[in-house]
Every structure is written in structure tokens, then in C-alpha cells.
């Protein structure tokens, strides 16, 4: 529960389900040192520079071990193991082992073939897919075009909840098989990022025949077409997978995968130390503890990297308080982001100037963030008419005081701390912000409805789709879309429309760079920072690769991990000095 990314986050849709990287396709900063090598730089980067720091790539190492059990942690019980109905990370982390995607994302965020190859018609609306000849289900029957058609039709069926995939198939015209292994998908419009929709696992059609889709037995025991197959699921306890003897294509290096369902971070950490777990996510506190814990250094290593997630403070652009871009800019200038990076994130964070993480392909590193400048902010506020006319210490305009509620989800600690820093700075500038912690379901309901003045949020990590349209275009105001801040700028609207129809990548990136500057100056929200993701890993596991999409949502991702010797065996002995990530 300590995962700080609990804000409303981008639909991570396709990408987060992706299962793969082609390891040969060149990852950044390949270490040429021995196994425990890491490339994590310990230097804080307060500036918004898209530097490739923090990437770990052990894919170049030849696997020195095979077999055994990999014990991973899930923070909650999956709701389902039906690929179409999945809604959260636990589902994705398990399904990645048993279900191959039609297309995959590699560690460079590029779409690569998975179960299928594809071609696109010149108008960009028609996709022709060809499934791999050798792709089979765990009983040896081939994966057929009918399975893909069934899967996509299930996603768009309003009687089936498909919270993750539903929106990526908006505008679907038709999907039909053209042969045993070929099928065609047609869309109403051209969309630059359409291919990412197909980072999609398939369901076996015949196993759902004559069954109620929502309660089919396969939802609890998925039928595999991947490197592993399902063995058992004890609710709230564990999920066990084993090698699929009929696996085609790439195979994993462990014989069994056990997912332990452990809701408490501190217990997962103890479990890692006790040697009955190979990985767990750490929050900032957990990282601090691990870095000073000799027991941790003896058995484990810290893996830390930046992904595509970022924190921000949403402002309701329709509110009389925040309708003026000068005011929003002033608020950004009142937030001392360098201090947040330094103190709150202990240096492992980067300041943002726009609605993408610095590692996003479209981030323009030349757009510098607004500076922390209380004096400049004060004059902007004065110019916008917000002055303290009655001398009570709070600015006012037309009889209304500059005071508002700042919502924050109770589940996030980082968001809460950012808010406290911000509120203190605002108070000095004559603005009163009251922090209101709200439980997640209630919080996200208010945010999605646009029913708030300011709210502390985080953007999702694992979606490489940089398209800002669903979140910032004025046609997407609630209740139609997810532009919950009610941002509107005619120039930005036009650029967003152009970009999503633009098929040429470099021209598209140029449009996004123009947009980036508009976002910085309009400050529709306060862009805060992107902070690092932190994991504790047993030294018994090697072959880790991190990417801006995280370690899990890529191909082969966790399937490329391998066992470095038996527990307690020579290969598992800690090196004499802890790995550089610890320092």
C-alpha cells in the first residue's frame, strides 16, 4: 500500500500489459562488468534533463543458472486472471507469464512482434495481422485468428467489464478472421499510436463457448499460450505457475514461479531478508532502511530507476481562482521543487516542465521548468488582481479570499508531503490551502467528475503512449473525458489533433515539442517531479532489465531473469562490497 503512485494515473492500457523486450535490441548503458554491476548514478538530477540514468541492463550476461523457483510478491489478490477483464497490476504481473501478447513493447518502448506480425494500410485505419505458425495453446492446439477476433469483440462488448482495454478500442469498426492465422481490424480514424492497442493477450475462444463470460472457470485458471502454465491459486495466499511443456518461442529460466500475496510492505521486506521472497517494491522509507541494513546488503540489492510516472498538482481551470494562467504560473513558481527533490526524494527525482516524464520520447529537454521565485510569483498574483486588500494576510479579489481545498488520496505519502511543502509556501505568499485527505475510491470519483479545486495526483508509469489528447483536449472535459482540470487552449487543442493523426514520428515529435512549451507557460497543472522506482532484489536473481516502462511491462522483462546459484551456494554469496546502487 505504500506505492506512492496512487493518484489518478494515465490509462496504462496497452503498454502495461506488454510482456516483452527483445534483449538484443540494445538497451542503454550496458554494463560490461560482472553480474552485480549496476549503472545507477547516485547523483541527484534536479534539472529536467532526459538523461539515461538509473538504467540497469543485465541482458548481456549469459544466464549461469536454470531451474528452481522464483518467488515474487503481489501486494494484492488479483481480481481475475481473465486477460480482458483485468484491471490492476497484480493481474498483469501474473498473466505476463502465461499469455503472450499479439504485439510487445521492448525496453526502448518500441512495438515489436509478439504472437503476431502486422501491416497497416496506407490510410492507417486497417491492420492486417498474421499469427505465428508455431504459436500453440498449452494443449497443443494452434492459436487461431478466431481467438483474436473473440478477444477483441469481448473487449468492446458493453456487457463485459474491460476497464483497461475498452478505451483503446474506441473507434473500432470491425474485426474479422480472413484465414486460420490471419485477421483484419479496421478503425474509423487514423491514430498514430494505434499499434499499441495490440499489446494485448488473447483468450482461447472455444474454452469460453457456452459459458457465462464473467464467471467462466478460465477466469480463475487461465489457459496458457506462453512460457509458463497455471498450476494453482489459493486466494489471498499464492499463485503458482510452472513451465509450459508446450511453450514455443522464448522460454523462462525458472521451473516454477510462485507469487505470494503480501499486502504489507514491511512484511515483504522481512520476507526478502528471511530468504523466502526474491523481490519486493520499496518506498522511500524502505529504501532508506535497506541502504543502512547490513542484512539487506548481505542478501539483496537495491534496484532503482526512473519510469514514465510523475507527480503533479491538478488545478481546476474553471475555478475563478485558477482560470488565469498567470495565477497558475505563479503557483508553480511558489513550489520549491528543487527542495522537494532534495529533501523528500533524497535526490532521486527530477523536476518536470510538461506533461511527460523526461524519459518519454516526446519530452523536450530544452523547455526549462519555471523557476522557484516567490517574488516573481507575488507580482504575477498582484497583476492578476489578487492582493491582500484588508490586511488579514490572505490575498483577495472582488471579496473572495484566495483559499482552497487541496485533495490528496490517503494512500499516498509522497503526495501528502508535497502538499504540505506547497501549503506552507502558499501561506507565506498569502494563499490559504487546506489539505484534505480522501480515501481513494471517493477521491478518484471527485477527480474524474472535475469536482475539486486542487488535487495532488500521480501519472501512471507504464504507458509509452504520450498522446495528451484524452487528458488535455477541451473536448475531453468531464463527463465525456478525463480532462478533469477543464483545461482549454485553442492552439493546444489544434496541435493535439494534428499530432494524433500525424503518421510521421519526427514531425509528431516536433508538434509535441511545441505543445510542451505551451503546457509549461499555461501551467494547466503544477508539474512537480518524476521520482525513482525502487525495488529490493535477492542477489540470487540476475538478468534484470529496467526501462522507462518499468521492469515488468516489457518483453521479456521478468522472463529474462535467471537464477544465480542455489540459495547459500557460492554464486549467491554477497560480493565483498555492496553493489553501487546502495551507495
Amino acid at each position: 500500500m505504500a506505492n506512492p503512485r496512487k493518484g489518478v494515473l494515465l490509462a496504462s492500457i496497452a503498454a502495461s500489459l506488454a510482456a516483452g523486450i527483445f534483449l538484443s535490441s540494445g538497451c542503454r548503458d550496458k554494463p560490461d562488468r560482472a553480474p552485480s554491476a549496476s549503472t545507477r548514478s547516485a547523483t541527484p538530477r534536479p534539472a529536467a534533463v532526459a538523461a539515461p540514468l538509473g538504467f540497469l541492463d543485465e541482458s548481456g550476461l549469459a544466464p549461469a543458472g536454470e531451474g528452481g523457483t522464483l518467488r515474487r510478491r503481489l501486494s494484492g489478490d488479483p481480481a481475475t486472471l481473465n486477460a480482458v477483464m483485468q484491471s490492476g497490476l497484480p493481474e498483469q504481473e501474473v498473466l505476463q507469464y502465461v499469455s503472450r501478447n499479439l504485439l510487445d513493447l521492448d525496453s526502448q518502448m518500441k512495438v515489436v512482434p509478439g504472437l503476431a506480425r502486422f501491416t497497416v494500410s496506407p490510410d492507417g485505419r486497417t491492420f492486417l495481422f498474421t499469427l505465428r505458425d508455431d504459436a500453440v495453446w498449452e494443449d497443443g492446439t494452434p492459436v487461431r485468428a478466431a481467438d483474436a477476433v473473440f478477444t477483441i469483440r469481448s473487449i468492446v462488448d458493453p456487457k463485459i467489464p474491460s476497464p483497461v482495454f475498452r478505451s483503446v478500442f474506441d473507434g473500432l469498426l470491425s474485426v474479422y478472421a480472413t484465414g486460420e492465422k490471419t485477421f483484419t481490424v479496421r478503425f474509423r480514424e487514423t491514430y498514430a499510436y494505434r499499434s499499441m492497442s495490440f499489446v494485448l493477450p488473447l483468450l482461447p475462444e472455444r474454452r469460453f463457448a457456452k459459458k457465462h463470460f464473467l464467471s467462466a472457470p478460465d477466469n480463475r485458471a487461465p489457459f496458457s499460450n506462453g512460457p509458463y502454465r497455471f498450476v494453482s491459486w489459493k486466494p489471498q495466499q499464492e499463485i503458482v505457475l510452472e513451465r509450459n511443456p508446450r511453450a514455443w518461442g522464448e522460454r523462462g529460466h525458472f521451473d516454477r514461479i510462485v507469487f505470494r500475496i503480501l499486502p504489507e510492505d514491511s512484511v515483504a521486506y522481512r520476507s526478502l531478508l528471511a530468504g523466502n521472497l526474491e523481490e519486493t517494491r520499496l518506498d522511500s522509507t524502505g529504501k532508506g532502511r535497506a541502504a543502512q541494513d547490513p542484512e539487506f546488503a548481505a542478501c539483496c540489492r537495491l534496484v532503482e530507476y526512473f519510469d514514465l510516472g510523475w507527480n503533479y498538482i491538478a488545478l481546476n481551470n474553471r475555478s475563478p481562482l485558477f482560470a488565469d494562467a498567470r495565477v497558475r504560473r505563479a503557483l508553480t513558481m511558489l513550489l520549491d521543487r528543487a527542495a522537494i527533490v532534495r529533501n523528500l526524494f533524497q535526490g532521486s527525482a527530477r523536476i518536470l516542465s510538461g506533461p511527460w516524464a523526461p524519459d518519454s520520447a516526446v519530452y523536450d529537454a530544452t523547455v526549462s521548468p519555471l523557476r522557484f521565485d516567490p517574488a516573481g510569483a507575488a507580482s504575477l498574483l498582484d497583476a492578476a488582481g489578487w492582493r491582500d486588500s484588508n490586511g488579514n494576510g490572505v490575498r483577495d479579489r472582488g471579496g473572495r479570499e484566495f483559499a482552497f481545498d487541496l485533495l490528496v488520496s490517503t494512500g499516498t505519502t509522497a503526495g501528502r508531503q508535497i502538499d504540505e511543502t506547497f501549503a506552507a509556501e502558499l501561506a507565506r505568499a498569502g494563499i490559504r490551502a487546506t489539505i484534505r485527505p480522501v480515501e481513494w475510491a471517493a477521491f478518484s470519483e471527485r477527480v474524474d467528475a472535475g469536482d475539486f479545486e486542487a488535487a495532488s495526483l500521480a501519472w501512471s508509469a507504464s504507458d509509452p503512449n504520450p498522446d495528451p489528447y484524452p487528458f488535455w483536449h477541451s473536448s475531453q472535459w468531464p463527463p465525456h473525458g478525463l480532462n478533469s482540470e477543464f483545461y482549454k487552449n485553442a492552439d493546444a487543442d489544434r496541435l493535439m489533433e494534428e499530432a494524433r493523426a500525424e503518421q510521421d514520428e519526427s514531425r509528431r515529435t516536433a508538434i509535441y515539442h511545441r505543445l510542451h512549451r505551451i503546457f509549461r507557460d499555461d501551467a494547466p497543472v503544477i508539474f512537480v517531479a518524476t521520482s525513482s522506482q525502487k525495488f529490493g532484489f535477492s542477489r540470487r536473481v540476475r538478468g534484470l532489465v529496467t526501462s522507462p516502462l518499468g521492469m515488468f511491462g516489457i518483453w521479456p522483462g521478468p522472463l529474462g531473469w535467471w537464477p544465480a546459484g542455489e540459495e547459500g551456494g557460492p554464486a549467491a554469496r554477497p560480493p565483498s562490497s555492496p553493489s553501487p546502487v546502495l551507495r
Binding site: 489518478v8 494484492g76 467489464p161 478505451s167 474506441d170 464473467l214 486466494p235 505470494r260 478518484s444 501519472w459
Partner: protein, 325 residues
């Protein structure tokens, strides 16, 4: 006696109805919905269209009275519906978690009573004696230790450092049969049972102590002593038996707790019980599961307090004839 029971039953029915209506209304009027609850921690933002479709699918677009009528008519046929989260029957989910919670809480209650009864009687036998003072200091110290903190300390000591006991879970990876399997399961119970026990000790021991202390100078106890019974016999056979009456009432209130589970202990020890199910269901606004669990709690509380009332009426004629309540 029959009239007494009938009167209690007549009160139970409107109470139950009140609870059901209240829980349903509170739940559905609380902010948030099963759709808005999605995405916590996973970073997914559900598109507005998908959200509307899901609301419709779960019937959440219908007016509240209609939803209530539909739910209550199904419940009357003992059909609690399907979970919004995994679409399995609610009763299957509860049935899965119930045995784990019963075992854990049942053992904890037995252990509590096994310690609290002799301790309470001994302390009540000599109020303000050295045993009374020492036990009250220790019990209150234990009572004030937060369970999550104690649980983590015990885990660090016994599971990480000494490696005597398993860290969490209900059984080891490859469960063995027979005696070894039983021992394995028992060892998984030690820490959670301990954590659930130490806090409630004070509660029970102090209650028994005070009622024993009250009855120990009663005429019939003095008479028993005058008849030549030893202090010990008088205490256990006469003072303690009468002191049991408030304990029976208390048990009526405590036993339903066997079903409710402990959220904190179940989370820390990754125990797949009802407490976790309830907690997760509330966070995910899984209305059918929350309603069924609330109903289960309400019914078992009503039934067991009824049983306790009847039991104390049987034990104490003054309750039967209404001279005390």
C-alpha cells in the same frame, strides 16, 4: 421463560431490519463506487465511457430503492449475488475465508480464556494483593501495545533472526501430510494467535477479577467458608460461578467477533481470512460482499446476544422474572 424468549425474538426482528436498511443506505450513499475504486496503485484511469458501461452492468445506474428491493428479494432467497470484483458467488468467497478466521480467532479466544480465567479469579480473590497489582500492571502494559508493532517485532525476532517460526501464511510451500503437516500448520498459527491474545487478556482478566472481587464477600461465600470450605474451594465453587454471569453476557458480544476477523493481524501475517476480505471489499466498493458480511455480522451478533440473554436467564432467575435486566 418461553415468554421471555418470545419477547427477545420480537425485538431482534426490527433490529435486524434496521441494521440491513442502514448498512445498505450508508454503503450506497458513501462517496466512491466500484468503478472509481479501480486503479488504486495500478495507475489506470478508466475512460468515462467504460465507467458508464460498468455502472450499467452492475445496475448502479438504477435508483437506490430499486437496488435495495432487488437485493433484499434475492437475500430472502439466500442468494447474496456475485462479487463485483471477481464475479464469483459472494458465498463462495466468504466460505473460502471463513474457516481461516474461525480457527485463528477461536484459538485466540480459547487461549485468552485459558489464561484470563485463572488469573482473574486469583487476582479477584485478593484484590489489591501483590498478584492483583502485578497482573494489572502487566495486562495494561500489554493492552496498550499496538498489535501491528508487536506483530512486526515478533516477526523480526522469531522469524527473521531466530528462524524458529514462519513469517506469515497458513502453511509452508510444500505441505506435508500427517503429524509433520499438522505441526507446520500449528507453527504458522503461533505468532498471529499470540498477537490476537495478548491485547484481549486485560479485558477478560479484569472483568473476571472485578466480578470475583465483588462476589467473594457475598453472604453465600462467607457461609461456604463457615461451613468449612477452603478459601480456594469457596472461591471457585461459589464466587466464580456467580461471577460467570457477566462473562456469559460478554461472550455473547465477543463471539460474533470470531467471524469478523482482524484486518491488521490478517494483513501482517498474510492470513486469508474474513478481515482482509472485508477490508479489501470496502476499498473496492464490492457492495454484494460488504452487504453479505455486514449481514452475517448483524445476524450472528443478534443470535449470540439472544443466546447469551437466554443463558443468563437460565442461570439467574432474577433475569427471568424481570427483577433485574
Amino acid at each position: 421463560m418461553t415468554r421471555y424468549i418470545a419477547r427477545r425474538l420480537a425485538f431482534a426482528v426490527p433490529t435486524l431490519a434496521g441494521i440491513v436498511v442502514l448498512v445498505f443506505a450508508l454503503l450506497h450513499l458513501a462517496p466512491g463506487s466500484p468503478v472509481s475504486a479501480l486503479g488504486e496503485g495500478s495507475g489506470r484511469r478508466v475512460s468515462q465511457q467504460a465507467a458508464h458501461e460498468m455502472q450499467r452492468l452492475y445496475g448502479l445506474d438504477r435508483p437506490l430503492p430499486e437496488r435495495f428491493a432487488r437485493w433484499i428479494s434475492r437475500v430472502a432467497r439466500l442468494d447474496f449475488g456475485e462479487s463485483f470484483v471477481d464475479h464469483r458467488p459472494v458465498l463462495a468467497r466468504i466460505g473460502e475465508a471463513l474457516p481461516y478466521t474461525l480457527v485463528l480467532n477461536g484459538l485466540a479466544l480459547l487461549l485468552t480464556l485459558a489464561i484470563a480465567v485463572p488469573l482473574g479469579v486469583a487476582a479477584g480473590g485478593r484484590p489489591e494483593g501483590s498478584l492483583d497489582r502485578a497482573s494489572s500492571a502487566i495486562l495494561f502494559a500489554l493492552y496498550s501495545l499496538p498489535a501491528f508493532w508487536a506483530a512486526l517485532l515478533l516477526q523480526t525476532l522469531f522469524s527473521v533472526k531466530l528462524r524458529w517460526l514462519p513469517l506469515y501464511g497458513v502453511a509452508s510451500d510444500l505441505p506435508e501430510g500427517g503429524a509433520a503437516g499438522f505441526l507446520d500448520r500449528a507453527s504458522h498459527l503461533v505468532l498471529p494467535v499470540l498477537c490476537l491474545t495478548y491485547g484481549s487478556l486485560a479485558f477478560f482478566a479484569r472483568l473476571i477479577r472485578s466480578s470475583v472481587a465483588e462476589t467473594r464477600n457475598a453472604d453465600y461465600v462467607l457461609a461456604a467458608r463457615a461451613r468449612g470450605l477452603s478459601r480456594r474451594q469457596a472461591l471457585w465453587k461459589h464466587a466464580f460461578r456467580n461471577a460467570l454471569i457477566p462473562l456469559v453476557t460478554l461472550l455473547g458480544l465477543v463471539l460474533p467477533g470470531l467471524l469478523s476477523g482482524s484486518v491488521i493481524i490478517e494483513r501482517i501475517f498474510a492470513w486469508p481470512g474474513l478481515g482482509r476480505l472485508y477490508f479489501d471489499s470496502i476499498l473496492s466498493r464490492d457492495y454484494p460482499v460488504i452487504l453479505a458480511l455486514s449481514l452475517l455480522g448483524a445476524v450472528s451478533t443478534l443470535v449470540l446476544t439472544l443466546v447469551a440473554d437466554i443463558a443468563s436467564a437460565v442461570a439467574d432467575p432474577r433475569v427471568r422474572d424481570g427483577s433485574i435486566s
